[in-house]
């Protein structure tokens, strides 16, 4: 899977996990409605999960309001994906920097021993705490 796709999937999962994607869907002629969670979407279609089934629909089959909702969700996914991508870029640049390299051998306490620890992100600031037990 390409990196871009992975980022979009992660962003989608974050939105699904947040529960933003459950909505009542109405057909374009207003004759039918159902509740379902968006699993994925692209420019023209949306896949909705109803119970255990995942059903793909053309977006135009839904009421205008739902189509707008799908667009909004798509924008949210794109925004989250862009943020994730930026975070990855910053983390990669940080890992190559002198300061990043100097923090390469981090450890973290796990139960009764130290184990190797890798920073997953590069925060804007680090609070360095210099200390000794003596």
């Amino acid at each position: 899977m390409k990196k871009k796709n992975i980022i979009i999937v992660i962003a989608s999962l974050m939105l699904v996990a947040s529960g933003w994607w459950t909505r009542n869907w109405t057909s374009a002629d207003s004759a039918k409605t159902f509740q379902g969670d968006v699993v994925s979407l692209d420019d023209t279609s949306v896949t909705v999960k109803r119970g255990r089934k995942e059903l793909p629909f053309e977006r135009e089959l839904f009421a205008e309001n739902d189509q707008e909702g799908a667009k909004e969700e798509e924008t949210k996914v794109a925004t989250l994906a862009a943020k994730e991508k930026e975070k990855e870029k910053v983390a990669a640049e940080f890992a190559k920097s002198d300061f990043g390299k100097s923090l390469k051998k981090l450890q973290k306490l796990e139960d009764t021993k130290f184990v190797d620890h890798k920073l997953q992100e590069a925060p804007k600031y680090f609070l360095l705490y210099f200390s000794a037990s003596w």
């Binding site: 940080f94 002198d98 600031y125 360095l128």
Partner: protein, 75 residues
């Protein structure tokens, strides 16, 4: 927060970390490049708190000042 341990032995650092279940990452002295991670910050006593940006540039020194600077940036 990154703990830069100045303990001579990792056993001492481990005992100390265990005593309060230290949740944050630590650089043990044996793994620390003193010239890059200790000397530039001119630490004269412990404990010492120094807030740095992701380039390692000092932003604030001292617990209160460091936390205040971090909070100010968040706002």
């Amino acid at each position: 927060m990154i703990h830069i341990s100045l303990d001579q032995s990792s056993d001492a650092a481990l005992k100390w970390a265990e005593s309060f279940k230290q949740p944050w990452p630590i650089m043990l002295q044996e793994d620390t490049d003193q010239k890059k991670l200790v000397e530039p910050y001119k630490v004269r006593g412990v404990p010492a708190y120094i807030l740095v940006d992701r380039n390692g540039k000092e932003v604030a020194r001292g617990k209160a000042a460091a936390l205040a600077a971090a909070k100010k940036d968040e706002a």
